[in-house]
């Protein structure tokens, strides 16, 4: 049953430069006995939510909306009535700042204070209880008579926790409690909180920018951006398969959730509290459409206990392939089933890696998905239309391919300029000058010189790595929504491959196009892929979140594949004989 | 072949008068009404002092009228016990106050400031010694000592100025020192010195511009203090009898035995009283406004005291 219900909370601060919006219409509920996590970056309004629940916002803050605790409407109560709920029913553990505790009162006194005030205990009884609380949070009771400045940051945080527990509240709000803690202290706190929830039945709201911490204790998670809720849902689901582009970006930016994946930030800056119409994330979103700039999306349920605020219903499916089959016909009337009933889909802005060994059919699948080869059966839909109409490479915002062999991907006789602007030329896009401009831009994207000298070089004069980048530029000039990269680094030597790959991933992150990355190299894909599909003999045997597939596969073949690593790495699960 | 270390000293550029005036104009325009009124008031006093012979109709030291004449057409503010024109005494008294204020402020302010900068920049034993001296100076009870010393050394404007300077150089020195220390620890100073800047460059280019505004504000404070001190000493009878200071006027008035039982105090005692208060209030409001206008810079350096 819902213990704490927040409805349409709106808060803004009045400053010298006008009104700054902190929270813009947030609603959520906290069930009894659950731990709810609220994550967001600074400026997203998380602390404001905590303060408004407690009713201790600064004088220049104005709020509207209702806060209901156990049926009682808190926000409209007068101060002295709010005081009866404070600490008794709802307590907050503040972020450990320098002066969060009164510097001229002992820590013990401050912990006892609410007990005396709310529970009517005598000082002696309160001190006894205080000692119990101290030992529960792992503080030596000798610190009861110390002053706040004599405690270290971690100890102060525990004292704050002890203080919050002192009156036995139903709800605990924890505001950024890990920011001053080291790894050990963080782990201890995590265990302590889980124990409090399980053993003592506390309900908690954990507010933090530390997603890792929140995901380790919260059962449900809310993602905030610029004062609005972007996504909610069960923690594991939200982390493993985020539905909102912002959530995905946040997870990609956090190095210790998926530890093998490279860290990439979200391009752009957080909004600074000015008012704009439309979705607050719109400016940084790579899949935004017109309405995103005009109307703010509402939070709507999308199944499995999840909610999302997005006009496109979350990360939209860009390409969906159903029951694809394709066989090669050999001269001696035999046919080889290259693709044997494949279902696959790719979401906007996502990197899907298709991993398999030679002859697994991955390249063929790639060509089918691109529309270059017509499948025997099944269909591929891309955005609105079907793919094998074959014209998805003809214009902007379509599908582009980059091939494995750079020497055959580009013609020897073509100059760099001609090679890169070829697609524009073929489709009659733009005049000479515009094409030249776009070519230069594309070359700059892939970090090749855009000087006239370079433009007039023949492709035969370039190295393999350079030619691969020219091919990439050629693909990028058409601003694809989906890029299919077919083993693009296997013909390059190691450092060129590394540079090319980082370039590609950087482009992908910034431009937000989806990518199907085909490779036989597992470690590589772990670094860049969101999802991995393992292919064997024309079938997809396993598909899912990259880390799950690599680190906890369920399919036999996948396990063998993973086990075949012979790297230097000392992790046991790679060397374990399955 | 030795390699010459390039030393950065920018070519001495002429003090840009235009820029300074612009700066002054810019600053004063941000004043409040009180601030602007204070500036005007101060200017009036300065005019009064400089052009005293023109404002006053009679010389102050000469007996030009009946004794204790009430204010009238001949004597604007009446005359004192000896028959000397009071309005003239007020005008010339402005000279005394302003001269003392200016002299003490400039000498103590700049002298102290320079000492503070040097101590703060050099550090080491010079700094330690200066700190001790400043501490002791500031913990001396100034006014009683002032009375005693001026009593012993005899009254003269010169002596008074010297003593006042000795008592008021410590505060600007301390301020200058702490600001110098704060600036010296900044990374951009380290960078400049790494490039080869000599101490004079650093002081001229970085420290002086930062300190000057604060010093100027404290200058006004020092001149207020000096004016009050001189007036106080004169009031007690320890002032220079030849100087026509307002404090002396009040002293003479008070020592007139029946002063409180006669109406004479109205035109003998009140004018110097009001003149003093007016001048001090002008200085005070001016100082307040200046401080407020220069505030963003002050606030940035305020953490270090």
């Amino acid at each position: 049953m819902t213990l704490l219900q927040i409805e349409d909370l709106k808060c803004h601060y009045i400053t010298d430069t006008g009104a700054v919006k902190a929270v813009d219409g947030i609603s959520f509920g906290l069930e009894r006995g659950e731990i709810l996590g609220i994550v967001g970056e600074s400026g997203s309004g998380k602390t404001t939510i905590a303060l408004s629940i407690m009713g201790v916002l600064p004088a220049n803050a104005q709020c509207s909306g209702t806060i209901r605790y156990d049926g009682t409407e808190l926000s409209s109560l007068p101060e002295h009535e709010k005081d009866t709920f404070r600490w008794n029913d709802i307590a907050i553990v503040f972020q450990n700042s320098l002066e969060v505790l009164n510097p001229v009162m002992t820590v013990g006194m401050q912990v006892c204070e609410p007990m005396v005030s709310h529970k009517g205990l005598s000082i002696r009884e309160a001190r006894k209880k205080c000692a119990e609380l101290f030992s529960r949070v792992g503080l030596d009771t000798v610190w009861m008579d110390a002053y706040p400045h004599q405690l270290s940051g971690g100890m102060r945080q525990r004292a704050l926790l002890a203080m919050a527990l002192s009156c036995g509240p139903e709800v605990l709000i924890l505001d950024e409690v890990t920011s001053s803690l080291d790894a050990f202290a963080r782990k201890e706190l995590q265990e302590m909180l889980l124990d409090l929830q399980g053993g003592q039945g506390y309900s908690m709201i954990v507010i933090s920018h530390d997603i890792t911490f929140v995901s380790s204790i919260a059962s449900r998670m809310i993602v905030l951006y610029a004062g609005k809720v972007m996504e909610t849902g069960p923690t594991q689901d939200v982390i493993r398969s985020p539905r909102h582009p912002y959530t995905r970006g946040l997870i990609n930016s956090t190095p210790d959730i998926f530890i093998y994946k490279d860290m990439w930030g979200i391009p752009g800056e957080s909004p600074t509290g000015e008012h704009h119409a439309g979705c607050p994330f719109g400016a940084r979103c790579t899949q935004s459409i017109d309405v995103c700039r005009q109307v703010s999306p509402q939070l709507t349920a999308c199944g499995d206990g999840r909610e999302i605020a997005c006009h496109r219903g979350g990360i939209a499916t860009l390409m969906a392939a159903k029951s694809i089959e394709f066989s090669y016909h050999l001269p001696d009337r035999r046919s080889v089933r290259a693709v044997d009933g494949v279902d696959l889909d790719v979401g906007e802005g996502e990197v899907l890696a298709i991993v398999g060994q030679t002859g697994s059919g991955k390249s063929t699948l790639a060509h089918v998905l691109a529309g270059v080869i017509h499948p025997d059966s099944g269909e591929v839909s891309f955005m609105d239309g079907k793919v094998h109409g074959g014209n998805n490479g003809h214009g902007f915002g379509g599908i582009q391919i980059v091939f494995q062999d750079p020497f055959s991907a580009t013609s020897n006789r073509f100059t760099v300029l001609d090679a890169v602007r070829e697609p524009l030329d073929i489709n009659d896009i733009g005049n000479q000058e515009e094409q030249l401009d776009m070519t230069k831009n594309a070359l700059e994207l892939v970090r090749l010189p855009s000087s006239d000298l370079f433009l007039s070089k023949y492709c035969s004069e370039l190295s393999g790595g350079q030619r691969q980048r020219v091919a990439l530029a050629r693909a990028m000039i058409m601003r694809p929504k989906l890029l299919i990269a077919d083993e693009i680094t296997s013909a390059l030597d190691v450092s060129t491959a590394a540079n090319t790959l980082r370039l590609l991933k950087g482009l992908q992150n910034r431009r937000g196009f989806a990518m199907i990355y085909i490779s036989h190299d597992l470690s590589l894909t772990l670094k860049i892929a969101d999802r991995i599909a393992v292919m064997k003999s024309g079938r997809i045997v396993e598909v899912g979140n990259a880390h799950d597939v690599m680190l906890a596969p369920y399919d036999e073949y996948t396990k063998q594949l993973v086990g075949s690593r012979i790297g230097f790495c000392c992790h046991s699960h790679h060397n374990k004989k399955t | 072949m030795s390699v010459e270390q390039p030393v950065i000293t920018s070519a001495p550029h002429p003090v840009n008068i235009r820029k300074m005036l612009d700066g002054v104009g810019n600053t004063t325009s941000k004043f409040t009404i009180e601030g602007k009124m204070a500036m005007i008031g101060l200017l009036i006093f300065v005019m009064m002092a400089i052009f005293a012979p023109f404002f006053a109709m009679y010389p102050p030291g000469k007996i030009t009228g009946e004794s204790l004449e009430p204010p009238g057409s001949a004597h604007l503010l009446g005359t004192d016990e000896l028959g000397m024109d009071i309005w003239a005494q007020i005008c010339y008294g402005a000279r005394t106050s302003l001269v003392i204020g200016l002299a003490v402020a400039t000498i103590a302010g700049f002298g102290g400031g320079i000492l503070g900068i040097l101590a703060g920049y050099q550090g080491g034993s010079i700094d330690q010694v200066l700190m001790r001296v400043i501490d002791v100076t500031m913990s001396l009870p100034s006014f009683p000592l002032l009375i005693v010393i001026s009593a012993f050394l005899g009254p003269s404007i010169f002596t008074v100025i010297i003593i006042l300077v000795l008592f008021s150089w410590a505060k600007p020195a301390r301020i200058a020192r702490s600001q110098t220390l704060a600036i010296r620890s900044q990374a951009y100073i380290t960078a400049a010195r790494h490039y080869g800047a000599n101490p004079w460059y650093v002081i001229r280019k970085h420290i002086l511009p930062e300190i000057l505004p604060i010093l100027i504000v404290s200058l006004i404070g020092i001149s207020s203090y000096a004016i009050i001190a001189e007036a106080g000493l004169a009031f007690l009878g320890l002032g220079d009898p030849t100087s026509k200071s307002w404090g002396m006027m009040m002293n003479y008035a008070i020592r007139f035995s029946a002063i409180y039982f006669t109406p004479y105090w109205l035109w003998w005692l009140i004018p110097p009283l009001i003149a003093l208060i007016a001048l001090l209030l002008c200085l005070a409001f001016l100082s307040r406004d200046l401080e407020r206008v220069l505030d963003p810079k002050l606030r940035a350096l305020e953490g270090v005291k």
């Binding site: 600064p58 | 009870p141 005693v148 012993f152 007690l236 105090w265």
Partner: protein
């Protein structure tokens, strides 16, 4: 072993004391001519002090003017140690006695003014901090600030002229009505208060604004601190938050400032006493200076300086014990 800070403080105290003693000692000896040879000194037509031969002998001996300087200084210190401050020329009594008569009056008005200005300053400052945005507050603040810029003796003079001369409510001079007979202790106390009222008021104004501003600003700063938010969140009630958490932190610097205020007032009390002809140590100093009563001057200077220094020392120690953040 005392803390480093305290050691430094005491060192500074001793050095300052020594400087004062040295000035005290050397000043009269720096005057042109022998200090006790002139028997006529026309100081602005004031009393001419004539020293008898006997007196001159006494002083010569007391000051040891015929002995070398360092011996003189030693004698001087020795005399001080035994509490012998010499004999006043003007009053013809031991300096110690003269000071003993007049010092209590000064102490009385200084302490009264300090207490009054502290209480009033804290009250007004608290009020001002709570009513920060209102027009009336801004007026009060400007008024008090303007008041503070007027030197105390001028303010005293205005009060004197207005209330004693013009309105004739308060007396013109003295600590008590001369030759008065009192019916009861209460009457005597009343008379004392009646005479002390204006001087105390004047001295009070001198400190009031500083205390007021300090209280106000400290309170305003304190109310933005995190621990006030914590206290509010604990549901302790506005009153407890204000007193136990806000005031306790804000008043710390104010209370210690009070101690320094005493020191500052002692410095300016001379002028105020002169204005009101109040027979405290200030007026005595003025008389002594005008009549060139060197022993008395030195004695008063010493007493004033030492009491100010003592005050500062006591205040510093109290502050260290009140604020747990300062290591004692």
């Amino acid at each position: 072993m005392l803390e480093k800070d305290t050691r430094e403080f005491i060192a500074r105290f001793l050095i300052t004391l020594f400087v004062i003693l040295a000035i005290n000692f050397f000043l009269p000896r720096m005057m042109p001519g022998e200090p006790f040879s002139t028997t006529s000194s026309s100081v602005q037509g004031e009393d001419v002090i004539v020293l008898t031969e006997e007196q001159r002998m006494y002083y010569r001996d007391y000051y040891g003017l015929d002995r070398p300087v360092h011996v003189q200084f030693a004698t001087y210190l020795e005399n001080l140690a035994t509490g012998d401050l010499g004999k006043s020329i003007y009053y013809k009594m031991p300096v110690r006695e003269v000071i003993g008569i007049h010092l209590p009056w000064t102490m009385f008005i200084v302490f009264s003014a300090t207490i009054l200005s502290t209480i009033l300053g804290i009250a007004l400052g608290t009020l001002s901090a709570r009513n920060r945005r209102k027009r009336s507050d801004r007026l009060m603040m400007s008024g008090l600030i303007a008041c503070a810029e007027i030197p105390s003796f001028l303010l005293g003079l205005i009060l004197l002229l207005l209330f004693s001369v013009h309105l004739k409510i308060f007396p013109l001079a003295g600590a008590v009505t001369p030759f008065a007979h009192y019916g009861s202790l209460l009457d005597q106390a009343g008379d004392i208060v009646y005479h002390a009222f204006l001087p105390v008021l004047t001295l009070c104004f001198a400190q009031l604004t500083i205390v007021y501003l300090l209280t106000r600003n400290t309170l305003i700063t304190v109310t933005t601190k995190d621990y006030i938010r914590t206290a509010r969140a604990k549901g302790l009630g506005e009153h407890v938050v204000w007193t136990r958490h806000a005031l306790r932190n804000a008043l710390l610097p104010v209370v210690t400032r009070t101690g320094f205020a005493i020191g500052m007032l002692m410095g300016g009390v001379v002028l105020v006493e002169s204005v009101f002809s109040y027979p405290g140590i200030g007026m005595t100093l003025q008389t002594a200076v005008i009549s060139r009563d060197y022993p008395l001057i030195q004695g008063i200077l010493l007493v004033v300086a030492v009491s100010i220094l003592l005050c500062n020392l006591v205040v510093d120690q109290i502050y260290r014990r009140l604020d747990p953040r300062v290591v004692v």
